[in-house]
């Protein structure tokens, strides 16, 4: 199901696009969220709305009413689905200068979804990316529409055996994977990179941080290879243990067996997503 906020036509299968002069298209001037929805009930909804609100405030885009947003997950229908919603600043302004009173566009689409269950169980192989994320504190953490870095990084490999690519920043700190957050076990605790200079602050990461399940820290490619355990996770796919780490040339840099630490974090993550956990 898909459509435009405020419209009554819940059965239209093709979501509405945007006009040529939409600033989301012209400049990436907007935000998006991808939300796991089960039988019409969104998971981590407060976290998704919170990130959208922070992004809207940072960019100066008026947020749609809470009623409008709250009505969307139910329209995803029965079963498991991913709801993607996109909020652009709309049209208008003069070049980069935004209109004084923007009329934002909200677009959304829900598609059926099946998570990669084998990756929960068996873990994944990942690699380091060559691309380094630029440092931009003004946009750090937001899920905005300027995602060319992610596209370029994801283009670095095509081997389906490699599930994700890790991204460092221009100064060599590890930040995230192309569409997942990164976690490592060190000194008897789970850590995740700080995202105050670049990267997307995932909603699952946010929920785990808020509950004290994980902590913020710094790591590098060299340090990660010596971590006791490494995982990737996001609010749609759940949590994947990392069993092998390659460098950007495909050479194995580390391998791990899946152990109690992975399973404990996976249980915390999956409890928040309604996925299987002990």
């Amino acid at each position: 199901m898909s459509g435009t906020a405020g419209e009554g036509d819940a059965d239209r299968l093709t979501p509405e696009g945007v006009p040529f002069d939409d600033r989301g298209l012209a400049y990436g001037d907007g935000l998006f969220e991808t939300v796991l929805v089960r039988d019409g009930e969104p998971l981590l909804w407060a976290e998704h709305l919170g990130r959208l609100a922070r992004g809207a405030e940072t960019l100066g885009i008026p947020l749609p009413g809470r009623d409008t947003l709250d009505a969307l997950p139910a329209r995803a229908g029965e079963g498991l689905a991913v709801l993607k919603l996109m909020l652009t600043r709309g049209s208008g302004g003069r070049g980069y200068l935004a209109p004084a009173e923007p009329e934002p566009r909200l677009r959304w689409q829900a598609v059926p979804f099946a998570p990669a269950r084998a990756r929960w169980r068996d873990g994944v192989r990942v690699r380091h990316c060559r691309l380094r994320l630029g440092i931009q504190p003004a946009l750090a953490g937001l899920k905005h529409l300027n995602r060319l870095e992610n596209v370029l990084a994801r283009a670095e490999w095509s081997d389906p055996e490699i599930a994700e690519g890790l991204l460092g920043d221009a100064e060599g700190r590890l930040v995230e994977a192309t569409c997942m957050n990164l976690f490592w076990w060190q000194d008897d605790a789970w850590y995740t990179p700080r995202l105050d200079r670049c990267g997307v602050a995932g909603t699952l990461r946010q929920a785990l941080l808020a509950d004290g399940v994980i902590h913020e820290g710094d790591t590098s490619p060299e340090a990660l290879a010596t971590a006791e355990a490494v995982c990737l996770a996001n609010s749609v796919q759940g949590l994947w243990p990392v069993t092998r780490l390659d460098d950007a040339d495909g050479r194995r840099q580390a391998r791990w067996d899946i152990g109690d630490h992975h399973r404990a974090l996976q249980a915390e993550a999956h409890a928040r997503l309604g996925y299987p956990h002990d």
Copy 2:
């Protein structure tokens, strides 16, 4: 006039938009050009096509045929117009992973244009922006659709007396203005910042560099304030002498009278755009 490449309907006034799943909208996965056109003849067309081709190669987006592109300027009609063309990677792929064989979308619109002639004659007041451009060599120089930094920078001021804002990079070097390139006179020559780490390589700048009229160099906010002359220019507006430079708090940092150096560079720039020059 506006439309979609390959369509015969030259009279449609509203250019076609893009669907929800267009990657230009979803990720800013695409490129654009804004071209000055006089009586159907594009200015600096080779430079625009060259930059578009470099961007398409970097992003791995197939370039439309030369015939398709060459046919667009004539559709801008009589008089002076700006032709904006946008090339996105189209739909498809899986998340950030681009489709193996993209089917790009080309969209375009031509609108009548009148340059700010008073700024040619009297010069402009500009300010430094607080925002620093992130350093990303993989995208530097390209006119891609990830332009949130420009939008945020342009939002820093609303005073119409201030014509442009200057942007430095994360390491303090000056790079450009929000939608124009920067030039300064020093040691008996005109210089412009290197754009190998961030910024947009304007086509007028490119043409002036290729002809040896200007040279690449480095400068900082402090150094710029002591330059003998400063100008801003792009391929649509032409060249504006800078007569006053403010810091990000609106305090005057420098002022200049317009002199022979400005007029000489303006003549070189305007000769390439068909604008008045001595």
